[in-house]
């Protein structure tokens, strides 16, 4: 990995907004092999650009197989074994914003806060002989947040998608999921706990703390971060 390696999201709004942002820095993106290609070049920069899923980008940054990447903070925080020390956010980009939240059925009038959830979990275990199920794709984030709030009476159920449907389909009672407006949660009969916002996430330009920077990579990195700090001065 002698050349600077940068990853950006391979599709959707996140990709478009990342392209706009790079262009605003004076380094527009040129995709190789047209719209369907998975590599690209950045004008005026000696770098290998990979188009990957946001999850792969977060994983690559944490492992050190990428130097830089644009991905969601939710994924970075969740995939990092040791939390925020496993990556370095250089700039939050102001798009791709969403909250990772704890939500329970609206019918649970007795549960408004994490402390209420703790009490409900303890009573549930007594009544059912098993722990309350929490469905999520954010396994580490959930575990850390629940521990910090002293909530221990639960079991995690890994969710591959449509987490908000878990309570109505019976696979779980509580969910931890990402939401922008809360409308989907509401439509599924769920409410966000008062102190249940785990993370306010945005797309973030992030540097790996484990990747090795050779001479060539270092030079290109300086050029890119130089453009970034210049842009910050202007705006």
């Amino acid at each position: 990995m002698s050349r600077l390696t940068i990853a950006i999201p391979s599709k959707g709004r996140l990709k478009e907004q990342t392209e706009d942002w790079l262009a605003s820095l004076g380094h527009p993106l040129r995709q190789i092999g047209g719209e369907r290609g998975y590599t690209a070049e950045i004008d005026g920069l000696d770098a290998e650009v990979r188009l990957l899923s946001a999850r792969e980008i977060a994983q690559g940054l944490i492992e050190g197989s990428l130097h830089y990447g644009v991905t969601g903070e939710d994924l970075l925080h969740d995939l990092a074994p040791d939390g925020a020390q496993d990556f370095a956010v250089l700039k939050r980009l102001g798009f791709g914003g969403a909250d990772v939240v704890v939500a329970v059925p609206q019918a649970w009038f007795d549960v408004d806060s994490m402390a209420d959830l703790e009490a409900a979990g303890a009573a549930f275990r007594k009544a059912h002989g098993r722990r309350l199920r929490v469905a999520t794709k954010y396994l580490r984030l959930t575990r850390r947040f629940f521990a910090q709030k002293s909530v221990g009476e639960y079991r995690l159920v890994e969710s591959a998608g449509a987490t908000e449907a878990a309570p109505s389909t019976g696979t779980a009672d509580v969910i931890v999921d990402i939401t922008t407006t809360g409308a989907t949660l509401k439509a599924n009969g769920l409410k966000i706990l008062r102190d249940g916002v785990i993370l306010q996430s945005e797309a973030a330009f992030t540097q790996s703390v484990r990747a090795n920077f050779g001479e060539a990579a270092r030079q290109a990195a300086d050029q890119l971060t130089g453009a970034l700090s210049q842009a910050d001065h202007i705006s």
Binding site: P105, Q106, A107, W108, F109, D110, V111, D112, S113, M114, A115, D116, E118, A119, A120, A122, A123, F124, A127, H128, G129, R130, R131, L132, R133, T142, R143, F146, A147, Q148, K149, S150, V151, G152, E153, Y154, R155, L156, P167, S168, G170, A172, D173, V174, N188, G189, R194, D195
Partner: protein, 373 residues
């Protein structure tokens, strides 16, 4: 001595104390540790998925699979006291870079004997002897007692809701403070009115219908009504009185030589006016006396910390760890404690038996001996 030689030495110490050698199941359903101890333990478990998608774990210690076997035996054979010894592999995800994935624990578990201070001291002395037999001098020993905090809470005479909450919170990472600081919000008036109705469940069902809220998930209306009543009781109780808060924070901070601990705790109970804690404190004092009689060196090496062991998930009484020169405080060479609720927890209450056990870690003692050589 290499590791195998240390294993043999430690094993001989435990086997001399009596007991049946056992090498229980390596692979357990993940439900066993996770339902018992919660998700907090998952970070250290070696979990895998079988061909049907069921989560399984490699045994994270020997206590769990031995206790599981014992629970099954008690279910068939009825109650009788029994001792097991083992020298066997256990598997955990490393917490530190120099921790191994798999390691040997040499130890002993006793089920169904009297759970008294003499039994605690006896087990402690046995584990201590096994460490010394391996040629390792304990640098320090940390002890705790997971029954003391609950005894103080009971003695405070708080409403049941608060008492239960505090006892649970003590064992969680965030501790008591995280729960205490989250003051409860008042309930909506229509919900409060439903609680007053003759048939509170039906009335609450009507509130749901009026607000067009579906009832999803495994919690029933009856459980939600119970939850609301508990919350109303907590709100009416007005949270934790200042005196109780002071007492619990003072207890949490006790950290002193083991020999001084009985007097420190007794003084605390006197100062806070908690005569209800006397029984627990008398048992504690007797245990300390017996430990110091059996292991005089503990007067110099052993400390008592009130918060120690609160995250040791299934332990519920006396707990200890033995530390040696050259290893991190998170890498004890020996550890043990009492878990009187474990058999009941593993069998969903079908059988119950007292339990106490301890282990030594030959792999760590090899490192201590190498560093000291």
């Amino acid at each position: 001595m290499n590791r195998d030689a240390l294993v043999a030495v430690a094993r001989a110490v435990f086997e001399a104390a009596g007991g049946t050698p056992i090498d229980p199941d390596y692979v357990l359903p993940a439900d066993i540790p996770l339902e018992l101890s919660g998700e907090a333990v998952r970070a250290r478990l070696c979990v895998f998925t079988d061909n049907r998608g069921a989560e399984m774990v490699m045994r994270p210690d020997l206590t769990l699979p031995v206790a599981q076997r014992e629970a099954a035996r008690l279910g068939e054979a009825g109650a009788s006291a029994k001792t097991y010894t083992y020298a066997a592999r256990a598997f955990r995800l490393p917490a530190a870079p120099d921790d191994p994935f798999e390691f040997t624990q040499v130890g002993l578990e006793r089920f169904g004997y009297g759970a008294d201070p003499a039994a605690d001291a006896d087990l402690f002395a046995l584990v201590h002897r096994a460490v010394e037999a391996c040629g390792v001098q304990p640098k320090s020993i940390v002890t705790g007692d997971l029954a003391i905090f609950p005894a103080f809470i009971d003695a405070l005479g708080l409403p049941g809701v608060t008492t239960d909450l505090l006892k649970r919170a003590f064992r969680q990472e965030g501790g008591v403070r995280a729960v205490l600081d989250a003051a409860s919000r008042p309930l909506d008036t229509d919900v409060l009115a439903a609680l007053e109705a003759d048939d509170a469940e039906a009335a609450l069902g009507a509130v749901l219908a009026a607000r067009a809220i579906p009832l999803a998930g495994a919690r029933s209306l009856a459980e939600i009504v119970d939850g609301l009543r508990a919350r109303r009781a907590a709100i009416e109780a007005g949270g934790l009185p200042d005196a109780a808060r002071t007492a619990l924070l003072a207890l949490r901070d006790v950290d002193c030589p083991l020999a001084e601990a009985p007097e420190r705790l007794a003084a605390l109970a006197r100062a806070q006016g908690l005569p209800g804690a006397e029984t627990a404190l008398a048992a504690f004092a007797l245990r300390v006396e017996k430990i110091l009689a059996l292991v005089p060196g503990a007067r110099r090496t052993a400390a008592f910390r009130a918060g120690f062991g609160r995250r040791f998930t299934y332990y519920d009484g006396f707990v200890f760890e033995v530390l040696a020169e050259g290893l991190a405080p998170t890498q004890p060479v020996a550890a043990g404690g009492r878990y009187d609720g474990l058999i009941a927890g593993l069998s969903s209450g079908r059988v119950s038996a007292t339990g106490i056990g301890g282990v030594v870690r030959p792999d760590r003692m090899v490192r201590v001996r190498r560093a000291g050589a």
